[in-house]
Amino acid sequence: MHEPTARAFDVAVTGLGLLTPAGRGVEENWSRLLSGASTATRDPGLDGMAIDFSCRVPGFDPAVELGPENVWRTDRFVQLALVAVRDGLQDAGLDPASWEGARVGVVLGNSLGGSTTFEAQHEKLLTGGPRRVSPLLIPMSMLNMVSGFVAIDIHAGGPNLVTASACASGASAVGLARSMLRSGECDVVIAGACESALSGAVLAGLNRMGALSGRRNDPAAASRPFDADRDGFVPGEAAGVLILERMADARARGARIRARITGFGSSSDAHHVTAPDPSGQGVERAVRVALADADVRADEVDHVNAHGTSTPLNDATEATVIHRVFGDRPAVTSTKGVTGHTLGAAGAIEAAFTVLAVERGEVPPTANLSRLDDGVHIDVVQGGPRRRRVEVATSNSFGFGGHNAVLVVAAA
């Protein structure tokens, strides 16, 4: 009869804020994911670039959302986060106007900051000299500014920081936020991540290192995780936020608990700056630490939201590790088939998608997966969504630099 006490220290997800290429909010995102239709499309902002397609957040007007007086002070990566946080708090039934805020923490992941702003200002430096550089260059482009802006917006006076572990940043943020609740440091933590870095130099750099899909003639088919014909990822932008509270607090205020975050594991490949360790040992370590932290066995895991970037290297290594740890039991999906790879935001939006799979008992298909790679021996959901009871799920996120971060999500 010790379970209720243990669960009191668990961390509840009481709200989700989602601004992704698949849409805004839980319902738009979930129905797009279930449809299995990719969001990748020709991007007029990338005219003249070798890779001219991407996955952008559709229909986002920062002036309407935040007021014109706030737009010029902020880069888009911050704008997306501000709105996702507001949406998440509303979903959780929390009103910042009603709190004092000293025990509200903010932990957001990001990897490339305001690279679009930085590049535009660099152009001004080159063409007009140092006097033409905006005094807002630094506050608009440093990545930590996102949690700073959010704190100001919602009066969150608790611990405040940005995690930077590349494409694992969002998962790192959720894992750290969970620790801050379990230690008693905070009562509410706004956890998540954002990225909007679809700028010329960033995309040229990603392309030059061979990370991007070259499928210019058919962008909608370009992001195809675990498929035999995959050739790289499609870059995207997004913000995703999970409102986290201790289970006991969430219950006491009568909050709707979407799911629990019950485990977190992280590791480093300590192998190579960008290529995954083909042995998968680092990834496996993170998975096993997360399972141990959650006190669940591998054969209890029903669903894996894979990192599944659609690059040849990632998907092969990840599938090998998933098979080694779980066999073919869990229903595996990569939602990047639909959303593209939103880089630093990916771990957060995929944690949110995993919460929804647990809450709704449904696993979205992997978009564009028509012929499973011969080397992949796991159960990747394809064709359409699969209804199945999901008591326990994991979400994988890996980043350049060898960062691995794995979350365990369990039913409320």
């Binding site: 007021g67 014109p68 007086e69 005094p135």
Partner: protein, 80 residues
């Protein structure tokens, strides 16, 4: 021809999202224009008019009107 007051208000409206009916005698502090925003405004003025406002010449106690006066005195200095 646009007065300096017109130019400043236009820049504040177009680039900084301040409503067009801004009161020229309200202080920048009252308009929620902080020191960083003032530096950005000074840069916009410089790009538009070629008149340089130094960092210590503009504070949040200034108004659109006093800033226009400052610009007028600078322009006069250039002519003289």
């Amino acid at each position: 021809m646009d007065t300096y007051t017109d130019v400043i208000i236009r820049l504040m409206t177009e680039r900084f999202g301040i409503p067009a009916d801004v009161q020229p005698d309200a202080t920048f502090a009252e308009l929620a224009f902080d020191s960083l925003a003032l530096l950005a405004l000074a840069l916009a003025v410089e790009e538009e008019l070629g008149l340089i406002i130094e960092q210590d010449e503009l504070t949040t106690d200034h108004t659109v009107t006093t800033t226009a006066e400052l610009l007028a005195s600078k322009a006069e200095g250039l002519v003289a």
